[in-house]
Amino acid sequence: MARPAVTLAPAAAAAEAARPGEGYWQIAWRRLRRHRLAMGGLAVIALLVLAAVFAPWIAPYRFEQIDLTNRFAPPFSGRHWLGTDDLGHDVFTRLLYAGRVSLVVGFAAALSAVALGTLVGVVAGYYGGLLDNVLMRLTDIVLTLPVFGVLLLLGRYFGGGILPIVAIIGLFGWTVAARLVRGEILRLKTQDFAEAARALGASETRIIFRHLLPNALAPIIVAATLDVGGAILTEAALSYFGVGIQPPIPSWGNMLQNAQSYLWTAPWLAFWPGMMIFLTVLCFNFFGDGLRDALDPRLKI
């Protein structure tokens, strides 16, 4: 009776190992597909992106359409199935359009933060010396800053539109990626393949872009995925305080801005946008976690 159990384990291990002709990304994809929460998260993210892209076709109203005779209509009543807000905007319509803004801000801010962090990490890790020292002290300083307060300040002066919000979130969100990439580059640049490339006379840019960065891609991708959720949360918090995305452009955060004062009369105004933020961030975290397990389970992010 014990025999099948003993033979089962190596069989399972063999399925885990690389099949002939299979590359790193194929193995990772196969592992990712088995991660149920990650795939669930990915499916929901895909749905949210589709809903955001096709918002004008799905939405029953225009997002700036005001219906003053129909303010504070409760959900599931009449023609507004998620209700209306204090100006009579259709909440469902605004959620769809707000999703566009929140997702774009999330992706763009995470991308710029990770790009900036990668740049800092590569320069510090590859060139080392004084440059490394200066960049790492700068990283220490930014990590010690009360970032939320600084973002509030910058949001107050430059906020309002999508681009400035993306810029300020990216500008203060690069430190984690910078440390990660620096560590990877330090580890990779002394390895034989990098030495070999150098011995063959490859240029610095070729060594960095062709040999080092592709091998440091796994942590960069995982950090970027987890950063999207973080950036969406930051944007929402800034918009909640009125220094993020300004109405009439809807974002999930600014839909919550006045919701607290209507909690007694129109609680649904507070419920839906927050639920959307929660769901989206949760899915990015599930996906990022699965991605880390699939790409490199030893990563500590």
Partner: protein, 331 residues
């Protein structure tokens, strides 16, 4: 050890100075100094008044001179005078820190008391139902927008609470915000009243730390129970309780102490959202109000206070780590 601590303190100084330069520059270059705001609000102000006022406040001097003057005053303990609160910032900050401590300490204790046992149980019973529940909870905790969680808590405990009609739950009707009921006599009634106001904000503030600590406790414990010395302890025939408590847990807690020390400062810095949602007059809310109202004297003081707090707790974390783990050498 003493030399190590001393060296770390010396290393903190340039970072603190760097932060102060960065913050001072940001706040000074931000448009709208107090005099500009005065001009905007009062059309009778003449250009010569502007010049006189700018000279009075020292706003006519170049930025590096103003920075050095600010630094000199700050080092002597003078944080300036808040324009919007009409109070010296030192007094303001002192009162706000006292209020924040109520929340921060409660939230921290709450987080540790829940997270450490749950994390240990999760690790010892990996892939059990409770482990899955705990892991899911940590994902929820780091993904939920704090302000929304706060608003929902207010809704369920202060606005719409038919469930409190159940016998024994009547006391769970809680205030939607604020810090205490006016006119409550001092002593025990005051403390009990304060506790009622603290329940919602401290739970909301604790959630993120709770999730983070649970995650770290679980992974740290998982790592330790695979070590050879734990296997040795088991092989010696020690009781499982002794193996876990004396050999595994004590080692698993070392990295956890570091994480916790680091996050106390973050609890303080992370409180702005919670304190604003619950109208709790703490440091976090002072930060939000002073930044949004353009009260840069107060904002600079609060931002600098939070940064120094992070530095100090970073130091404490390193010292605690070195003190707890004899393998770590400080030279």
């Amino acid at each position: 050890m003493q030399r190590y601590v001393l060296r770390r303190i010396l290393q903190m100084i340039p970072i603190a100075l760097g932060i102060s330069v960065l913050l001072f520059t940001l706040l000074t270059l931000a448009p709208g100094d107090p005099v500009d705001l005065l001009i905007a609000s009062d059309p009778r102000v003449k250009p010569e008044d502007v010049a006189r006022l700018k000279r009075l406040y020292g706003l006519d001097q170049p930025i590096h001179v103003r920075y050095l003057k600010w630094l000199g005053r700050t080092l002597q303990g003078d944080l300036g005078f808040s324009r919007t609160y009409k109070e010296p910032v030192t007094n303001l900050l002192r009162d706000r820190i006292a209020n924040s401590l109520w929340l921060t300490v409660t939230a921290f204790v709450l987080a540790v008391v829940v997270a450490v046992p749950v994390g240990i149980y999760s690790a010892l019973h990996q892939y059990s139902v409770l482990d899955y529940l705990a892991t899911t909870f940590t994902f929820f905790g780091v993904s939920i927008p704090v302000f929304w969680f706060g608003i929902m808590a207010i809704y369920l405990f202060a606005v719409w609470h038919p469930w409190t009609a159940l016998p024994g739950l009547g006391w769970l009707v809680l205030p939607p915000g604020g810090i205490s009921t006016p006119g409550v006599p001092p002593g025990l009634p005051f403390v009990l009243d304060r506790l009622r106001y603290m329940i919602l904000p401290s739970v909301v503030l604790a959630l993120l730390s709770m999730a983070t600590y649970t995650r770290y406790t679980r992974s740290s414990m998982l790592e330790v129970i695979r070590q050879d010395y734990v296997r040795t302890a088991r092989a010696k025939g020690l009781a499982e309780r002794v193996v876990i408590n004396r050999h595994a847990l004590r080692n698993a807690l070392i990295p956890l102490v570091t994480i916790m020390a680091l996050s106390i400062a973050n609890l303080f810095a992370g409180a702005p959202i919670t304190e604003t949602v619950f109208a709790w007059p703490g440091v976090g809310r002072l930060l939000v109000e002073s930044v949004l109202n353009g009260d840069y004297v107060a904002a600079q003081a609060v931002l600098m206070f939070l940064a120094v707090l992070v530095l100090v707790f970073n130091l404490l974390a390193d010292v605690a780590y070195a003190a707890l783990d004899p393998r770590i050498r400080y030279d």
